[in-house]
Point group: C2
Amino acid sequence: MGKQQKLNILGLMSGTSGDGIDGALVKFESGVPPALLWHESMIFPKKIQDRIKHLMVRCNAQQLAQASTFISELYSQAVEVFRKKHSDLIDLLAAHGQTLAHVPSPAIWEDKTVFGSLQALNPGYLAERTGLSVASDFRSRDMAAGGQGAPLVPFGDLCFFGSIPGDSVILNIGGIANITVIRHGKEPFVEAAFDTGPGNMLIDQLAYEASNGRKAYDSDGAIAFSGKTNGDLLESLLQDPYFAQLPPKSTGREQFGVQRLKEIRDDWKNKISTANLMSTLLDLTVDSIVLALKSFVLPFGDVARLVISGGGALNKELIRRLNFRIPAKCEVEFSDAYGIPTLAREAMGFAALGNALILGIPANIPVATGARKKVLLGSLTPGSNLKDLLLNSILTFEPTP
Amino acid sequence: MGKQQKLNILGLMSGTSGDGIDGALVKFESGVPPALLWHESMIFPKKIQDRIKHLMVRCNAQQLAQASTFISELYSQAVEVFRKKHSDLIDLLAAHGQTLAHVPSPAIWEDKTVFGSLQALNPGYLAERTGLSVASDFRSRDMAAGGQGAPLVPFGDLCFFGSIPGDSVILNIGGIANITVIRHGKEPFVEAAFDTGPGNMLIDQLAYEASNGRKAYDSDGAIAFSGKTNGDLLESLLQDPYFAQLPPKSTGREQFGVQRLKEIRDDWKNKISTANLMSTLLDLTVDSIVLALKSFVLPFGDVARLVISGGGALNKELIRRLNFRIPAKCEVEFSDAYGIPTLAREAMGFAALGNALILGIPANIPVATGARKKVLLGSLTPGSNLKDLLLNSILTFEPTP
């Protein structure tokens, strides 16, 4: 493992929702815990969001070639916007790119096993536009080692939450909810990391549909609070085989998205009010999280705390129910309490991946991705600041055996 | 400019024809001209060729994600096959990837100028499978500097032919013919590099069609030799505005491919024999090369030699006519005479690009690509041999201002 020098790394990511770019500048320094200097988001105008969503569904090789420079241009613009607001020196960009496709299961093409995860970005383009060195392509090496190339965020969780005493579960409630389980042996380590099931995806979509598009989410969980959960429906939803499936596992929009809500609403038309359905779906999120803890985490040992991040942390009713249902010994806390703003966690995670590349530390977590072994993640594209970066860091690099 | 240490770099490329992977291992050493150690080709089975061609025409984001690991797997296999035949140590792979799309003209997407050149390859995947460090993504930074990201081979030409005394034109006759003009100032430099027009594309296609698919090309130019050029047709073909267009410029399959031949044959049905048409099309290749020399090269000074590489070098009748028509002062030679086997030139060019990345030398040629300035090309993905590679090379890196 290489020695840490002082490096300011800007993690950059844009999620599968395609709605904007999050940036978080993290200072990594020898002997000091990594520190968030700032975080920012650049929301895309509606037209750009639409174009990105369209590319995910329908595009050819030419358009995809163009999409890479398009996304690179958007990332460059985000860096420019962020730099105007903050004067801190940036040593390195660690950029995820825009996921346009992710096919977790391998396929066979002409006797070759193929995986598929496409993060549109041309690192050379971003390096030229910003003048900064770029770390990128974090997924593909894990896939070459038999993994799914995802999730990548557990390494950052270990980096930012690993020093908290006692075992912790880091819960992110985005569209999908996922957890990272951090235990302490000789050193802190990730015991498991996987998607628990739906996060906000179904409840946001219901809020949107029920308000005819005026609401993007159920603010504070007020609608759910006003409703009463339908036990039969909840029971049937919890029968989804995903919840019983052993980790590592991941799920997505295909399984718990618009289409699923449509099926539920079609089945229960006139038999359930919006408030009761909202309450039921909120319980589905809460119960599937609790189920994951009870099935796949607590059997291996108690945990001292559940640390919540993601947009779902703002849903008061969700947090209230979660608090009520998890074991009393486990504290429910928010990531902000540990210096990790709820909305900065993922971008910070990419900063941690960039730092790992520079130090030569393998950053995939095999129990999370399913890879056969730990491998170094990412490519480095030299910007005009490369010499300093190398002198500061790669000189101390020691490769993995 | 950094100092050259000893590095063996394996250039790897697969052309737009999608028929296989060429590899050339080049030794770069301080104070010694770069030397080709070996070159090899791995031809894809027909099914794989078909799949690659299909991807160029029709695919979506998911398939493209999978295509990247598919191509990476093919590149890994090629490296394995080549290594079994040759025991030389490889320090670095310099891999172009498989071009699936190249859109030379910029487009506008939501007020952003987008370029498009897609070379399918996951460098992390290749690094993991081979254990070797990988240089890749050579085009995108030139595009960010306003260039077309192509041609890339002139840098290699300068590297391998620049030390020959006197000004030279390096001519490659592939499907399309292109030239690199090397002059000598204080140091050798590339004065221009562009596509002159059709190379073998039209004559190969005619040989294929006239033989009902039994012949892939006109062997030794025998059919053309037996025919007589139709002056009217040749004259009309030479009116194509491409030939008068000022460089930098590039052309391709769209302009001088199957469709163009079909148009010509439809227009001249029953009015011209196959042999006469072959002779005429061969003259089109020869005359467009000579025209390019006379219009865009010789006005800036004589050249001592024309150095020919590419499959067209094997067409005796083509070479005979070319010899006949270029100025007497200009020697016609083959690249083999300079230690550059005709079929290794492009892969060697990528080895040269890999070396340039390691040394921190900008390798785009603005007069060729149209870029506003010289920029460093490529990304580096560390393999398990990274430490040695860095100690051998990047330590001496000095960034461009």
